[in-house]
Subunit: 234 residues, 2 copies
């Protein structure tokens, strides 16, 4: 359970503990949390079945460790990006586009990092927002509490005329769009063979212009809510 922190700095071969985390992360994306067994994980990690219980205790604790490893750093970077735009605003309110970019841009940057597994993790994370498992949702909610409070607060202040419920919903919609953006083609072969241009470098501007268009859309008119949603409007 406890890592011996020796001062031997010689390029360490990946420890069992890390190999297990990497294998679990990859398998969770491939098969989902429930459908991934400890045996699959230890087998891919080249470790013994008992090792995962030794290092993490339970499967649930392993799941948390997989998420925490990346999420702590991601949220730190998101907050740092928000700090930067707020400092740059120099006392004034940052623009909504800057706030959106601080949050979703940072996310997409991690998603574009295929070398250190960031892309794998972001696909996992995007799928996990809607995870049925209650303990995972609870855990994610805690990890996100501070970040959401900061970003939503900034958005509220930057859009003083807009009802907060509306901003909240639109942020929610943006999360959905980002989740699918990251899941990309691999989420669904619905669009099989049709994503001719899946260049991850282009995903960022693509998504960002969509998100900002949605965020800045005219407010919905609720006056006709009671009527049948006609197709002739607008």
């Amino acid at each position: 359970m406890f890592k011996v922190t020796t001062a031997d700095n010689r390029s360490p071969a990946p420890e069992t503990r890390d190999r297990i985390l990497d294998a679990a992360e990859a398998l969770f994306v491939e098969h989902g949390l429930e459908a991934t067994s400890m045996r699959m994980i230890t087998s891919r990690a080249g470790a013994n079945l008992a090792a995962v219980n030794y290092h993490f205790g339970t499967k649930d604790a392993l799941i948390q460790a997989v998420f925490r490893r990346r999420l702590t750093e991601l949220n730190r970077q998101r907050l740092a990006a928000l700090d930067r735009v707020e400092v740059a605003a120099n006392g004034a309110q940052p623009k909504p586009s800057q706030i959106v970019e601080a949050f979703f841009g940072t996310s997409l940057e991690l998603a574009a990092d295929t070398e250190h597994g960031g892309s794998t993790f972001m696909r996992l994370l995007g799928r996990t927002y809607t995870e049925p498992n209650a303990f995972v949702r609870q855990f994610l909610a805690e990890e996100y509490a501070e970040v959401l409070e900061r970003f939503l607060g900034a958005l509220y202040r930057s859009l003083p005329g807009v009802p907060r419920e509306e901003i909240l919903w639109r942020f929610h919609f943006m999360m959905g769009a980002m989740s699918y953006a990251i899941a990309g083609t691999d989420a669904l072969q619905l669009f099989a063979g049709t994503f001719d241009d899946a260049d991850p470098q282009r995903l960022m501007p693509r998504l960002m212009s969509f998100l900002l268009g949605g965020l800045r859309a005219p407010l919905a008119d609720f006056s006709a809510v009671d009527e049948r949603p006609g197709l002739d409007a607008a």
Copy 2:
């Protein structure tokens, strides 16, 4: 002596087969496909464990039956809605907003139907777009093939100046936003207690204005993407 196979039209109590489908649908939303066992299903349905195998064969076949029951009708309605706007256009191209409304409006109508389980199903469907299970993805892709071809084709024609990749991506983003819209608060307690206004009647205009804002956003500018050769040309 009790099971009359002929049409005795007097108020039919829900058959075992239908009770199983209802129970499975609800449990799939609650716990996910993998985490829902046949025992949970038959127990909630008030049926015997062996009944599900008798009626459906395997668990995978049951999953397909749960989706097919609703999806066939939903896609029929989506196509009918598209037919209507195309007929109303009277030879001209329908507006993008009309096409979007035909697809997502129909979806949200089913999601608003809490009386016949439509809302339950749509939450399940939204989550299933990113389902890891390969057989489920394959099945969904087949069910969607015709609908997507029709709607994407209509969007392409209605936006002749816009690159098709861009439309495809934006449709993908819209699917993500809708998925989260339907999952709503229950998807994640991230926003715990903050969705003061979760009136499903208002969800439709809320989402629609976001989607149309995103769809009509100015096209992304790829010129500053990176240093890749050839990208700055267009």
